[in-house]
């Protein structure tokens, strides 16, 4: 068993393997990944389609289970936990921003943002809430249903939902995938701001070099393995690295 310390880490994966299918159909989505994600860092995960980047995120977030290896959120080891314990960890420590906005259509923006807190039965920190919605420029849209919001607004509500509960870590899966360039830029500024101002930890999966450049570090995945990493990346450098991988 691992004796690795998780002090100062937001998340950790050790010897992570995720295999789908059997025999000839076997697909190794993750093929032995070990990685630490320090607190207060914005990490982008990149790689071509099928490189395992989404699987990595899902396994680390407790949405999917590793075939082999271990994951931690903070100092909580998800591997071996019961389904309901994992759900609780997710509820209390993890925020999500998905590609498709994933808001509950019957709840208005405010209710959607407060949903994880509500489910957990936790009180909202009003000051924090106000700051988040103001920063995300949705303070005047709080009483609207998702169907009455634009795509960018919906995604900002989703971001607010992830940030408002002050999770240990936010997982963002292609958060700008369905946004136009202006909305994308806004979204990434918000995420960057959350990291810089509030020390939020974010792991973002993306295939867009323009998005990934906002991160502190980019890690490159291919065939389920970490093949490279880049600190303080620029869009061009990322682009070149990606091209080299193809």
């Amino acid at each position: 068993m691992s004796t690795a310390t998780t002090n100062g880490l937001a998340a950790r994966i050790e010897g992570g393997r995720r295999v789908y299918g059997q025999g000839d159909n076997e697909v190794r989505a993750l093929d032995g990944i070990t990685r630490d994600f320090p607190l207060g860092r914005f990490t982008a995960v990149m790689g071509p389609s099928g490189s395992g980047k989404s699987t990595l995120m899902q396994c680390m977030a407790g949405l999917d289970r590793l075939t082999e290896g271990e994951t931690w959120i903070g100092d909580m080891q998800l591997t071996g936990m019961s389904e309901s314990s994992v759900t609780r960890v997710r509820r209390d420590n993890v925020g999500f921003i998905f590609q498709a906005f994933n808001l509950v259509p019957t709840l208005n923006a405010r209710e959607n943002i407060l949903l994880p807190l509500d489910i957990a039965g936790r009180k909202v920190d009003q000051e924090w809430f106000d700051k988040v919605v103001t920063d995300l420029r949705i303070a005047d849209r709080l009483d609207h249903r998702p169907s009455e919001l634009s795509g960018g607004q919906q995604q900002r509500v989703a971001a607010a939902r992830a940030i408002a509960s002050r999770p240990k870590i936010i997982f963002a899966d292609e958060p700008t995938g369905q946004l136009d360039s202006r909305s994308s830029a806004e979204m990434l500024d918000v995420m960057r701001g959350a990291v810089d101002q509030f020390g939020q930890t974010i792991i973002m999966v993306t295939h867009d070099p323009g998005a990934a450049r906002h991160a502190d570090q980019v890690i490159f995945l291919n065939d389920g393995k970490v093949v490279d990493e880049m600190d303080d990346p620029t869009a061009d450098a990322i682009f070149d690295r990606m091209k080299a991988m193809d």
């Binding site: 899902q58 977030a61 949405l63 999917d64 389904e83 309901s84 759900t87 609780r88 997710r90 509820r91 209390d92 993890v94 925020g95 999500f96 998905f98 498709a100 994933n102 808001l103 509950v104 259509p105 019957t106 709840l107 949903l115 994880p116 509500d118 489910i119 957990a120 039965g121 169907s147 939902r161």
Partner: protein, 840 residues
Amino acid sequence: MIVTQATRNLLSNKLRLFLTSLAIVLGVGFVTGAFVLGDTINKSFDDVFSADNSASAVQVRGKAVVSEQDRKAVPADVLDKVKAVDGVADATGTIMGQAQVVGPDGKAIGGQGPPTFGFNWVEGPTNPMHLVAGEAPRADDEVVLDKATAEKAKATVGGSVTVVTDVGPAKYRVSGIATFGQSGQTAGATLTFFTPATANRVFTSSGKFASIEVTTKAGVSDQALAERIGKVLPAGYEAVTTAQSAKEAVEGFQVFVDIFRNILLGFAGISLFVGAFIIFNAFQITIAQRGRQIGLLRAQGATSGQILGSVMLEAALVAVIASVVGVLFGIFVAWGLHALFNAIGAGLPEQSLVISPRSIIIGLAVGIVITLLSALGPAFRSSRVPPMAALHPMPDTRSRPWAAVVSGIVLVLGAVMFVWGTLGDMATAPRVVLMAGGGMLLFFGAAALTQYIARPLAYAIGGAFAWRGGRMPLRLGRRNAMRNPHRTAQTASALTIGVALVAAVSIFAASLQETFVGTLEKRLNADVIAFAQSPDGFSVAAEKSAEGVPQVTDVMVSRFVQFKRADGDTASVSGLDPAKVGAVYDAGVEDGTFAELTQPNTVAVSRDVADDLKLKVGDSLPMTFAQTGTAPRKVVAIFKDTTFGRYYMDNAQVTANSTRARDQAILANAAPGVSADQAQKAMETALKGYPSVKAYSKSGYLDFIGTQVNQTLLMFYMLLAMAVVIAVFGIILTLALSVFERTREIGMLRAVGLSRRGTRGMIRWEAVIVSLIGAVVGLVLGTFLGVIAVKAFPDLTAMRIPWLQMLAFIVFAALAGVLAAILPARRAAKLNVLEAIATE
């Protein structure tokens, strides 16, 4: 393309197919079952009464002046006249009466519906019985029993059996056992044969016959002989061929079989009505879900006609599958009910099921037509989906304001039709049409209007559960119930129908109870009431046994006989003892006095009859009795309470006008110094020999009446409960579909930390709220229907709404919701979060 599309859609969700079909399967099952069972019972009665069973060719009998059953007895000298007619080979007189066979345990054999007949054993070709053991009765204390009765009474040839006749119970030696006619079936009737002398004595026939059976000489037709005999008969008698009398007997039974069949068909109608709602609902929802897919087809060039065809084809497949299964289920229902009736002692003859093509065709046709009609609306809607729907999700259809007005008009129209049909004065056919049509419109209107109150109602009901902590699952469930009020209303309406019907019946039952038990409690003063346990009443000999009991006083017997009024209506007149009635029962005499009933040709009538016929004390009322013909009777009293009858005569006069006197009740008070309980016990002991009558204390009697009322309505409750069960399946269906529809949303909720338990709770709360909406609307409608139904029966003088029961229905509805949510909730909780999020 269309065919593949339709079959794929159908098979892609087998749960939906199953749940959609279920209601139709049940409805069609009941339709087919009603016809198959009706045919089967009719066939068995045909066999029992078939002319083949009778060796005689012509029957001589009193004319049916009052009713088929109640005919004037034939004097002995008529037999000689008949015998002298040219062409008569043999003629025998039949003596007939009520003979209750008693089992070794002292309990009555038969008599719960099918008759208990006693006859004289006749020698020769007119006797329809075939001895299978022993011999004909020779001695005065010998009897022959039919085989089935002998088996039930555990009587063997040479053994003894107790039979209660008009002269009381007596032990007889079983000289023989016989079977009836060709088939040996008696349709549950018990047959006892005595020697002619004994039959004459025990049925107090004074030498008269119930009928004369005649056989013809070779070369004479039955019809010709019947005509010839008719010429020599005195007035008031007739000669008919046996074929004719057999036909009449069958028709008499057919009336009951038809009533029963119509009840079953009524429930089939209710099942199908609920089924139509569920099908409409299911198609509506799936088409809404498939909006994008349909839009895609349209974008690629499918015409709206092709879309319509595809949906209707899918409906047709459901229709055919469900109807075929339904017909098979119906045959099973018929078989099951047949067995059930025999298990509870109806004594239906053994008879293989009669499955006529008609039963199958009607079942199939009803199922297919209703399914297609229900799917038509959603299919049209689907054909109007624009190609643009492929690109944009369709907005929720907003209801148009005029729709509410139309629904309101439909509701009011339905209510008016129902009230008119129920309370109005008209023939049966338009009444049924108005009531059924009005009821349906009422439900349609209510179902359509429910969507306007579904949102506030869901909000209020959700709020009512706030004591549960107002936690997330409840709030989400409430939101879901409020999200699409149209669908919530539709889902709820299936339950609305079930709850409304159950509520209406319970109001009717409570009012019935209240009327009878309430009135009896007030007006019945007797300490002991001995009451008939069979519709045929009990032997008049019981009176003597009761009078001999020292612990009771004021013993008053009540017997009854049918008569015909001048306007042709048949009614029943009860006998009483004018000197004793006051001590045991207060009829609420408003005018005149019962004492004068001892005068010849007198009668007392109830206030409503008097008002109806505009009678005052001193006026005359012509009454026709089978035995004595028509005579005017002077009205000597007008009374208020109709619990025991609307016409009273002196017992002696009732007896004098009866062909066969039977008693209905014996009322008595405890003798001075004797407790009511002791009096009841003493009466019970004295009447031990008469299993068709049972002695009750006053409270025991009230309980008995209450139980009777409940038992009468039990079958209604059971069948209505089925409508509720179907409705629950409807809720399961809608929930399952909406879980499917919300896959992505549920996945997201799970991702942000809603536990499986919380997910199940959310679905459960939605189901509970939807069920309660249905129940609340159903209770309102049911109360309306029940109140109107009670008003339709002038006999029901008390109106009672059983609030506690109504409350119980609400609780049951909530439980039904919990139950309905089990499967869909489990499905929702088991959703794979990853796949759910990925679902487009």
